[in-house]
């Protein structure tokens, strides 16, 4: 309970900080007044540029945090993270294909639908290859293959685009950024992220039971098939939609559950919720950092995440290497 309160306070503080960070020169009180009342340019800046960016950071961060915690809980493997095992990469591929074939323009909700579909395929392939117990070795190997394939096809699709800018956007799709995203993107992602998180949230009890082993879980009348389906579609939906608008942001689902797990005594159902909060905090903080560190360069979120996340990933591999051998 205390942890949740702390995270919510932190999130609120970062949200306000994010709203007051940007190129336009204005005092804190001016910006906040303009957010509610401003008709002039500062009002436009606050409401159409900074507000959607901050809200999107929370939405995307929460989706990635929850998804990471859920996959790790289900596979009982701390390395299972949507970005690392290629779910985000596949979602990005779906988004790129939808954008460049016109599917995103001509079909209502075409963009999130496409990335959701591709993410679903990736999750199913991974679960199929990794098996119900999700052995580290098979999971990571399958993840590398799926990531590499999705990344290659994303680059190929962008290289083939008639648009000369497309090629330079490979970085955005593989690394993710929230720069200049608008409310259009927020509304596009919101329903999919919400439904996805709710589906994942409903598996909390099952994940708790699974910590005691599959046999115990079955004897507690928990349907493993239902849990699996809810997770597959929940993760695909939330990660898919988040990636469709912000590109593939890695490591959030790895770092956040890892840091918070000891604080909730390893209970998966509680971890799901706090990981959502933690993910939102992390992405929001990272998005503030990219604007403060290199304001003119549109530093990609994935770069910052990898700097924080990759060492932790190596540490986790080191710890689980006995299982890998």
């Amino acid at each position: 309970m205390k942890l949740k309160v702390i995270l919510i306070i932190l999130l609120t503080a970062l949200f306000i900080f994010s709203l007051s960070t940007g190129h336009a020169v204005a005092s804190f009180s001016q910006s906040m007044t303009a957010l509610y009342l401003g008709d002039g340019p500062l009002g436009t800046v606050m409401r159409e540029i900074r507000l959607p960016r901050a809200m999107l950071a929370i939405l995307v961060g929460a989706s990635l945090g929850v998804s990471g915690a859920a996959m790790q809980g289900y596979l009982r493997n701390p390395l299972a993270e949507p970005g690392l095992i290629g779910v985000s990469g596949s979602a990005a591929l779906g988004a790129v294909i939808a954008l460049h074939t016109g599917f995103a323009t001509y079909v209502w909700m075409g963009l999130p639908i496409a990335s959701f579909s591709f993410a679903t395929i990736a999750v199913l392939v991974l679960l199929l290859l990794a098996g119900p117990r999700g052995s580290s070795l098979t999971l990571i190997l399958a993840g590398i293959a799926v990531s590499a394939l999705a990344g290659a096809f994303t680059s190929l699709a962008l290289n083939l685009s008639p648009n000369p800018y497309a090629t330079s956007e490979i970085v955005f799709w593989l690394m993710g950024s929230l720069a200049d995203r608008s409310f259009e993107h927020f509304w596009l992602a919101l329903p999919f992220c919400l439904i996805g998180c709710l589906m994942i949230g409903s598996t909390g009890k099952a994940l708790d039971a699974l910590t005691l082993g599959e046999d115990v879980a079955s004897s507690l009348s928990i349907s493993l098939t239902n849990t699996k389906l809810l997770l597959v579609f929940g993760v695909a939906s939330s990660v898919g939609a988040a990636t469709a608008v912000c590109g593939a942001i890695g490591f959030v689902g790895l770092v956040v559950p890892h840091l918070l797990r000891p604080l909730v005594k390893g209970k998966p159902s509680t971890l799901l919720f706090v990981s959502g909060l933690g993910g939102a905090v992390m992405v929001l903080a990272a998005d503030i950092a990219v604007r403060v560190i290199l304001p003119d360069r549109d530093l990609k979120l994935g770069v910052l995440m990898a700097i924080i996340g990759a060492p932790l990933f190596l540490h986790l591999i080191y710890k689980t290497r006995s299982a890998l051998q």
Binding site: G22, H23, A24, V25, P41, L42, T44, V45, E48, I49, R50, L99, H100, G102, A104, T105, S161, P162, N163, P164, Y165, A166, S168, E169, F172, D180, S182, F183, E184, P295, D296
Partner: protein, 279 residues
């Protein structure tokens, strides 16, 4: 004194021989030419005889970057490869100074004369480039006429401007161009002041969306979007731009420093308060 005269006439004869001889050895009276650059393509089409043009660059027919795409389609196109150009056996190759160095060096080492043109971003440079092309092609009179027409039309267009509305050039990825670029010059000649100067961007640079909104330009001038979608161009449809007047105007006429910038200036002036009444 006599010695001096004698020496002078000797020098004069020498000079005459030197220049005459040089021009004979360097070029035939009406040299056959190949162009590797979309801007030199246009100079050739404006000044050369049809029979002088062996081939033009590949993008000369691209309507998004060539102001003379239709005219260019009657000539042969080349892929700017050294081998291909060499086999065409041109007397002179016209290239931009940024044309692939390897190709240009290869052609020069094969004893093909390559004339490199700097991309013109001012009126003076445009005139100089026209002069030079005319001289190289053996059509100095034609070049003179073209320059006179260009100057008089330009004077017409730039006269009678009292107000200078504040405008922003805004392209994909939030890129803007300042007063030292051709686009900046066109904007200035059309009678607008460039907000890039207010934020100290004199060449090209990224103008953050927030700063664009805060600087309240009277008009935002954007380019034609390319087919296929891109995140880079999405910024031009950002809801925050809705309160501003957005004009999609920069097209092929803005690409090269040639007399076609007159058309760009004319197009732009359709939204200029001092020029609108004339239309």
């Amino acid at each position: 004194m006599r010695v001096y005269v004698h020496r002078f006439s000797f020098v004069a004869i020498y000079l005459v021989l030197y220049f005459f001889g040089a021009s004979i050895s360097a070029t035939a009276p009406s040299p056959k030419v190949v162009s590797l650059n979309v801007c030199t393509d246009q100079f050739l089409m404006l000044l050369a005889d049809d029979s002088q043009i062996i081939s033009l660059s590949e993008i000369s027919t691209d309507i998004l970057s060539s102001a003379m795409a239709a005219e260019a389609s009657k000539y042969r196109q080349n892929n700017s490869g050294a081998e291909e150009i060499y086999l065409l056996q041109p007397d002179i190759v016209f290239a931009g100074i940024y044309t692939a160095k390897a190709t240009v060096n290869m052609l020069e080492s094969l004893n093909i004369r390559v004339e490199k043109f700097e991309p013109a971003s001012t009126v003076d440079q445009i005139i100089l480039n026209m002069q030079r092309t005319g001289e190289l092609l053996g059509h100095t009179d034609r070049a003179k006429l073209l320059i006179t027409n260009f100057e008089s039309r330009l004077a017409e267009l730039t006269s009678g401007i009292k107000n200078k509305p504040r405008a922003a050039l805004y392209y994909a990825n939030g890129y803007t161009t300042g007063k030292n670029t051709l686009a900046g010059q066109i904007l200035d000649l059309a009678g607008f002041s460039n907000i890039a100067s207010e934020v100290d961007i004199h060449w090209g640079g990224t103008l953050p969306l927030e700063l664009l909104i805060m600087s309240k330009p009277d008009v935002v001038i954007t380019g034609t979007t390319y087919p296929g979608s891109s995140r880079s161009e999405e910024i031009l449809k950002h809801p925050a731009l809705k309160p501003l007047q957005l004009v999609s105007s920069t097209d092929a006429n803005w690409v090269c420093g040639t007399p076609h910038i007159l058309k760009a200036i004319e197009d732009l002036q359709t939204i200029h308060p001092d020029k609108m009444s004339i239309k």
